[in-house]
Symmetry: D2
Subunit: 292 residues, 4 copies
Amino acid sequence: MTHNRAPMLHDHASLIVYGDDRPGIVAAVAGMLARHGANIVALDQHTDDVEAGAFFQRTVVHVKDLAAALPALEKDLAGTVGDELGLRWRLRDLSVPLRVAILASKSDHCLLDLLWRQRRGELPVVVPMVISNHPDVADDVRFFGVPFFHVPSQGADKRAAEAELLRLLAGNADLIVLARYMQILSGSFIEQVNVPIINIHHSFLPAFVGAGPYQKAKDRGVKLVGATAHYVTEDLDEGPIIEQDVIRVSHRDSVAELVRRGADIERQVLSRAVLWHCQDRVIRHDNQTIVF
Amino acid sequence: MTHNRAPMLHDHASLIVYGDDRPGIVAAVAGMLARHGANIVALDQHTDDVEAGAFFQRTVVHVKDLAAALPALEKDLAGTVGDELGLRWRLRDLSVPLRVAILASKSDHCLLDLLWRQRRGELPVVVPMVISNHPDVADDVRFFGVPFFHVPSQGADKRAAEAELLRLLAGNADLIVLARYMQILSGSFIEQVNVPIINIHHSFLPAFVGAGPYQKAKDRGVKLVGATAHYVTEDLDEGPIIEQDVIRVSHRDSVAELVRRGADIERQVLSRAVLWHCQDRVIRHDNQTIVF
Amino acid sequence: MTHNRAPMLHDHASLIVYGDDRPGIVAAVAGMLARHGANIVALDQHTDDVEAGAFFQRTVVHVKDLAAALPALEKDLAGTVGDELGLRWRLRDLSVPLRVAILASKSDHCLLDLLWRQRRGELPVVVPMVISNHPDVADDVRFFGVPFFHVPSQGADKRAAEAELLRLLAGNADLIVLARYMQILSGSFIEQVNVPIINIHHSFLPAFVGAGPYQKAKDRGVKLVGATAHYVTEDLDEGPIIEQDVIRVSHRDSVAELVRRGADIERQVLSRAVLWHCQDRVIRHDNQTIVF
Amino acid sequence: MTHNRAPMLHDHASLIVYGDDRPGIVAAVAGMLARHGANIVALDQHTDDVEAGAFFQRTVVHVKDLAAALPALEKDLAGTVGDELGLRWRLRDLSVPLRVAILASKSDHCLLDLLWRQRRGELPVVVPMVISNHPDVADDVRFFGVPFFHVPSQGADKRAAEAELLRLLAGNADLIVLARYMQILSGSFIEQVNVPIINIHHSFLPAFVGAGPYQKAKDRGVKLVGATAHYVTEDLDEGPIIEQDVIRVSHRDSVAELVRRGADIERQVLSRAVLWHCQDRVIRHDNQTIVF
């Protein structure tokens, strides 16, 4: 796995190719790219031989005047990679930032970390909006010049709240990040919003699924606590894991202290997962991820 | 938590005191020790204020001619700490090695690591015997000058095997270590053998309890795998955790590779737990541990 | 070492005692505390026996009506611990936040992390001012309600700049934190300001002392980069180390990426060091630290 | 970086290609491999764009009847990759174990770890001999069925000892591992033995070069100690770093304890470096390494 790299690259594109393995894919793709004058500057490839041959590849290419070259490149990919080789592919212009909408509740640690990193140029994204079911973080968000919307979840029925979320998000986001958004999204919402959703769970999944993981960790007497960033699916806490990390704790840490110390690892794990997604490093495969 | 320190100390004793908290315990214990000419060289104390006051303390004292001084010291502890303060206590002469019997199966990594650390003086223990349900490791064990006994578990009924284990272990061990011993011990055995038992579980408990944790980890797509050393209780994989650690893995690691790489973390976690137990650093409290 | 715990505690005080070891210190101090009705809630003790007996102890006590009890307690400490035992001691009311002034340059990651932790109640401090030799971070600082002063270092002679710093800081800070302040402070300044100064160095000291550590790390081809928080002394990068940590890097990371990824470890290491200092967990001893 | 994977692979070969970058290398190499019926099962590529274009690539291919196919493949590589593209290349049959000779002194931790891993099938190597300047480890080595030679360094002049080493090693090893061999090898020896030499240094280089690093670490009061595996060059402790790791220490650890605890990290770091070298994952470039 290659860790977080330079965020935004002029005239660079990432190409993801995956599907059933067969001999000659690397050569066919590389040959096609060479014919378009695309210079390969990074290439990661993985063959999942255990399960009899899934093929995964991420290539970063430099193409002079990329924007102009894209249509022909994409047409050739559709023919050569899609039709002839029968593989799935996607091409992303790495100079175009993704639009990342953030959903939060009262906690500010994951939210502010993402906004700081975006402002500092660490994350190749724009943040079109932050939505929270509590008004607490409004001033902080707006200080960054980012629109804030308050969509209460308490009291209102859940369906109405999700309809309001959909109205705000539809067409305005390429990715939704749940930055400690403490509401469960319905399968219907996930389907309709139709962009990937990344959640940060405050435990080392699959340990301590559900609510109150730090209390559960304290009760079980574990010596490490962690955090997990994963894609959201209909099955709560069961989506494909993108990144995890842990910190050492001891009998001296109360639940409140686990919460506080865990916050540090949550924000790091989430920001890495968001960066990798936005650099198109993550391929979902069954309920797992390949992270190049 | 203080990590592993010098293994065996002439004229040093560790004193564990714990029970309901009240003002003045530290002063009472320290005063009593001072009256016996015992110089405190290390002291760790913890008050579990969240749950309204359990008190835990580990003191290491240096006493000239410790063996001669022990009876009077113990009598005073029974009176002052036991009767007057109503606390539980135990005193260990740190120059006397614990007798640690090891149960293994076919895997040698945890077993050899313990034998080798004992030989090089890292573990303050003697190993009176190694018992395995397979004969594979016999030569290795005997090369270290340690008796090896083969007590098969396959084919024979479990009750007979446990009876044979009891016959060998009874009175000959202060601690039993399950160094990847792949058999489940019955509650009756645990009760009758009547010394602490430490197991190494090849996952980051409570994730992936039971058999085949590396396969389960691969299936769930986790990004870290770990190991857990815990005291054995009747509830499989549910005993008090002593130590845990993890390593980073990726989509590139097959199950076989997880097994191989996990072995490194298993032997480290187990050897730390055994060392800490033998230095009397671990206090069991409900289903948790205080590790000083 | 005990890691970061609950930040601010009503009616709690920390007592640091250190000096030449001798039998009976723990008992004498604990007895004295008991006579004042001070209940010991945490105690860490260390004897540096290798170098023939330095004694270090940190005690946290709970005293009802601490403010009223302090004068008598301090008088007794001066007599019993200072005069009779010949030890150095200090007592801190843990409900009184330290005044921490922050010096920064253009980088915001360490600065914002400290301000944000203070605001969310993680750091038991008040921040009376932030001073920078660049105006870039002024708005961010003032958004937190903290005064910002711009004291340029370029162009102006260094002596004048330090005089201006002294004028602002004198009497207004209990601790000065250099949050990636890229100026070297003179011995004269350090002496006159007369409060501890904590610096974050962007390498794993003593590797890569001086400027440009990430470039040096890249040139040497190291596989880990780190950060070091230390007290500032006249010897640049040579002061007592409080905390260090590292992250894994590879040939894929450019210098710019080392800078970016190192920033994450810098802010964590610095915030831990500041927290521990403010909880009075750190004892300087020769050119080293005891961190309880 | 890809971590340690399955050790030995029938009909698999690794191909390393590196040199000045230019468009089309990946396609040319992949095309050539495809023409030989070689299926790419893993590919890592790196372009060092900062320094204007060095290209590095490691490919693992599966070829039916590899041994029979090798001559034609190598001839084509020499023409296509060597002559036409002007790149350096090497091809290794991954089913053929490397011959790894180990040099040791009195310490057994790194030595035994390598022998255990070799026996367990974790390291794709054979160990033709262990040479030590002390006889202490002879029995342990021979228990593994490995020849042991004692070549004293004390008393004898260094030149004679190195001549004896050369006589034993010449033609019998593909790699020499210094498993805590405490002698400095001359430039003349390094040149004449003419195979790579990997050393384990017991510090986090470049901190604490030279002798006694744990004492130096204690004196400096660092909070982490580490180990470094590197290729040996004439410049002591200055060769290309392959792998490094660290562990957390504190004021409680004496120098003896740093030595003991450091031994754990030394053996892990060394075994990883040896594995990666033997899997042909490491490319030396100037004074650095690319580890795929």
